[in-house]
């Protein structure tokens, strides 16, 4: 009961109110290179030498506060790149990919930067958003009787008014000169069961213009937890002018024909299917991004492992633009209730529902984190093999020269921040704090002390992460992590059973 119990009321309200969604994405006027794409959001390639990707998981306010703590931690780290001016590590973030609860933090930062931190705390983290959702559903229910309004629309309207201040993807593009990260808000396409990202590259496939779509609607789709919220519906306009002018990128058509590479082929087939099914299925229904990737790393993994992306890291490395890649995943996953195994009576319906809806997400997230870690290990190993082989050959034959050179000398770092790794000052596992964190609710409201605790824990995990320390010592030689203590008063209030 501990995690979903808090949202039971919202569930009941949700179940008793029917609703159909309305498409709110306009048709594209003409195909081009404008719109919310990596190249337009991050136009200064000089920013890419150190390429930083953040991935924010789902988990309601728990995930939002945890990922916000990561932003706060990065903001405290100052370094001076060779030949450059001093900056914070937060300034170096190139991409934030997020799902569900993490999408609130990601989108707010991309829109408002650090100037918006205080507003985010007041308007989302420490606010009873869930209560306001329930109140809206209760007080505005006649609106839900309209065929063009759904529960997700009420949620999106609330987020639009109180959190995102009516910002659209055009507003995001206006932030490009301020070095804000490229934002990947991920939802799940119900028909494909696959990741759907709110970028113009994806919307090109629907022949739709993302520019005027409110960011709040994308965040609502990304966090549309099944049953509690209805899916968000988009119109697929493909077919007719100007949609017939669409020419898929080469990597997409080549991916479709890569029959011996099932991942590439499936990705291409899924994306191109929007074109094929527009006539018979002109609507796309989106649910919580966590259903297809609850850590937000699938999009970055594609960009990190090949040319099949509009912002391929392979391409940037081959071009010599990127010298160091740092991926930080803020994973706010929770554990299973240890009490289950102590009782003869089986867990109740709410516990089972919790496991069914979040268990597979957690398992898949673990696999994705492993994929990135293994991919980076392979890349590091390859580069080391090349150098070792060359060195060995030169020992035997000083005149030896490899017949070709490396594409680039690149360092790769993967950092996962998860509750299970929280440690005390002696560097030992802090089981009691871990158990407290893993027992926090998945809801859009948490007690103030728990929100504050999550922010502190995120910074502590970041500064104590061996992978992060290694990355920082490469970025700023001699860097030493600060001690980030957990406030004992906050801890006592947030975890009263400790």
């Amino acid at each position: 009961m501990r995690r979903l119990g808090g949202v039971l009321v919202a569930l009941l309200v949700g179940l008793t109110v029917a609703g159909c969604a309305v498409p709110a994405n306009p048709r594209l006027g003409a195909y081009g290179t404008s719109g919310y794409r990596y190249a337009n959001a991050r136009p200064d390639v000089a920013e890419e030498d150190l390429f930083v990707i953040l991935a924010f998981s789902g988990g309601g306010t728990r995930a939002a506060a945890f990922s916000y703590g990561v932003l706060e931690g990065l903001r405290t780290i100052r370094h001076r790149p060779a030949g450059g001016v001093e900056r914070t590590l937060l300034d170096d973030v190139d991409v934030i990919s997020s799902v569900s609860g993490g999408s609130f933090t990601a989108a707010h930062y991309a829109l408002f930067g650090t100037d918006g931190f205080k507003d985010f705390e007041e308007n989302f983290l420490y606010r009873n958003i869930q209560g306001e959702l329930v109140t809206r559903a209760a007080t505005r229910w006649p609106r839900l009787l309209r065929s063009d309004v759904s529960r997700i629309d009420l949620a999106a309207d609330l987020y639009d008014e109180v959190v995102f201040k009516h910002a659209t993807f055009a507003t995001l593009l206006e932030q490009a000169p301020r070095r804000r990260p490229y934002l990947l808000l991920n939802a799940t396409d119900m028909t494909l069961g696959a990741r759907f990202e709110f970028t113009q590259d994806q919307f090109d496939l629907l022949c739709s213009d993302l520019t005027t779509v409110p960011v709040a609607r994308a965040v609502a789709a990304s966090s549309a937890f099944p049953i509690l919220l209805s899916p968000l519906t988009l119109h697929n306009y493909s077919g007719g002018a100007p949609c017939d002018d669409f020419r898929p990128p080469r990597w997409l058509t080549n991916g479709l024909e890569s029959t011996d590479q099932p991942r590439r082929m499936t990705l291409a087939r899924n994306l191109l299917s929007y074109r094929a099914r527009a006539q018979n299925q002109p609507f796309v229904h989106l649910l919580d991004g966590g259903l297809s990737d609850n850590i937000g790393l699938r999009g970055p993994y594609i960009a990190l492992s090949g040319q099949d992306s509009a912002w391929s890291l392979y391409t940037k490395i081959n071009q010599g633009k990127v010298r160091r890649v740092l991926v930080i995943a803020a994973n706010a996953r929770t554990g299973r209730d240890p009490e289950w195994g102590k009782r003869e009576s089986p867990p109740g319906v709410i516990d089972v529902l919790d496991l069914v809806t979040t268990g597979p997400m957690g398992n898949y997230s673990f696999e994705t984190v492993q994929l990135i870690a293994e991919h980076f290990a392979r890349l590091r190993s390859d580069l080391e093999s090349f150098r070792a082989c060359e060195s060995l050959a030169k020992d035997q034959c000083p005149a030896f020269s490899m017949p070709f050179d490396l594409p680039a000398d690149v360092a790769f770092h993967a950092v996962e921040l998860a509750f299970e790794n929280v440690k005390n000052d002696a560097g030992q596992d802090d089981e009691r704090l871990k158990n407290c964190l893993e027992g926090l609710a998945t809801a859009f409201v948490l007690p103030r002390a728990q929100v504050t605790l999550l922010r502190q824990v995120a910074q502590r995990l970041l500064m104590m992460s061996p992978a992060f320390i290694e990355a920082m010592q490469g970025i700023a030689p001699g860097w030493q992590p600060p001690n980030v203590p957990i406030d004992p008063a906050i801890l006592a209030e947030a975890c009263p059973t400790r």
């Binding site: 890569s258 391929s312 071009q319 010599g320 070709f404």
Partner: protein
């Protein structure tokens, strides 16, 4: 994942699936291996006098010490 070396008698910029990947030649003058994911890709070089003008090949998985060669001739 894989690696390719794009061979041509002189330095040229390489395009994979229409995206520029930098030069086929390192500063040392030696060919430069490029990161690529395995599967079908279309390769072309900048400038004129290249035969074929472009080629689509199925790049196999290759370790860095044995990159897959993609050959272009001067014409």
């Amino acid at each position: 994942m894989s690696y390719v070396v794009v061979r041509y008698p002189e330095p040229r910029d390489v395009y994979i699936d229409d995206e520029g990947q930098g030069s086929n030649t390192a500063a040392s003058g030696k060919p430069r291996a490029l990161f690529v994911n395995a599967g079908k890709h279309t390769f072309r070089l900048s400038g004129a006098g290249v035969d074929p003008p472009e080629q689509t090949v199925n790049v196999p998985e290759r370790p860095i010490l044995n990159p897959y060669p993609v050959e272009f001739r001067k014409c």
